[in-house]
């Protein structure tokens, strides 16, 4: 019997095989959203916990990776909704450890703060689309919404950011 079929029936060994195969992929997706390694690891476990509980709802002919990514996105969104105002974005994960000299430190902090004030839904869409440059199709699949809805969220995020930055005296 295929591993996906056995997983759908609640087989723990099949679940372990899928966990080992997909944990890196799920973690990589989550860390892009929450931008903290420790939290991303916890949320990866939380995602697979949700996956394990929902095994009976999984169709073995379906795409496990896409299903896992959607559950991971929801777990990350739930985390951001509760913790986004408390946790600062860590810099150690960022590409290039040195801050960009072209943008003044204070301006960077203002942009970062304004970005973190966006709702979790807008923040996730904007992070994945603008910062991580994931495809709109992939983001739409992970969020369970249409490509148009993703574009709309990104558009609203940019508009709100621009408004916030203008209010702070930063002209984007």
């Amino acid at each position: 019997m295929e591993v996906l079929e056995r997983f759908a029936q609640g087989d723990l060994e099949a679940f372990e095989a899928l966990f080992r195969q997909f944990q890196g992929q799920v973690y990589g997706w989550i860390v892009c959203i929450v931008r903290d390694r420790g939290i991303a690891e916890d949320l990866t476990v939380e995602t697979f916990w949700r996956i394990y509980r929902a095994h009976a709802r999984f169709h073995p002919e379906g795409n496990f990776g896409a299903w896992a990514r959607r559950i991971a996105t929801n777990a990350a969104l739930d985390h951001l909704k509760t913790a986004r105002r408390e946790v600062a974005l860590p810099d150690d994960l960022a590409a290039g450890a040195q801050p960009d000299p072209a943008v003044h430190r204070e301006t960077r902090e203002q942009i970062e703060r304004a970005f973190r004030e966006l709702s979790a839904r807008l923040q996730v869409a904007a992070t994945l689309a603008l910062v991580e440059e994931e495809s709109y199709e992939q983001i739409a699949e992970a969020l369970g919404i249409s490509v148009g809805a993703v574009k709309s969220r990104v558009f609203r995020a940019v508009r709100l950011l621009r408004g916030k930055l203008k209010g702070l005296g930063v002209e984007p």
């Binding site: 390694r37 902090e109 910062v131 940019v158």
Partner: protein, 73 residues
């Protein structure tokens, strides 16, 4: 909102919130997962049961209160 403005906003955002450079998982999370699986399901606190018991006892001794409550719901 022009495309050029959007591009400028994207650039500013990427400088303030740079992309994640290292997405690789550094360790196996299966032991953590096993611990999570071994955890007992969440238990209902005793005071929740007590809160449930109060109306149950009330309805048991005063069944005439049930339609009154239903009317107000």
């Amino acid at each position: 909102m022009s495309e050029a403005n959007n591009e400028k906003m994207r650039e500013l955002l990427r400088r303030a919130v740079p992309p994640v450079a290292d997405r690789e998982l550094k360790r196996d999370l299966w032991p953590q997962m096993l611990r999570r699986l071994a955890e007992r399901p969440a238990r209902v606190p005793w005071f929740d049961w007590a809160l449930l018991a109060v109306p149950a006892i009330w309805f048991f001794f005063s069944p005439e209160a049930i339609p009154i409550l239903l009317y107000h719901l």
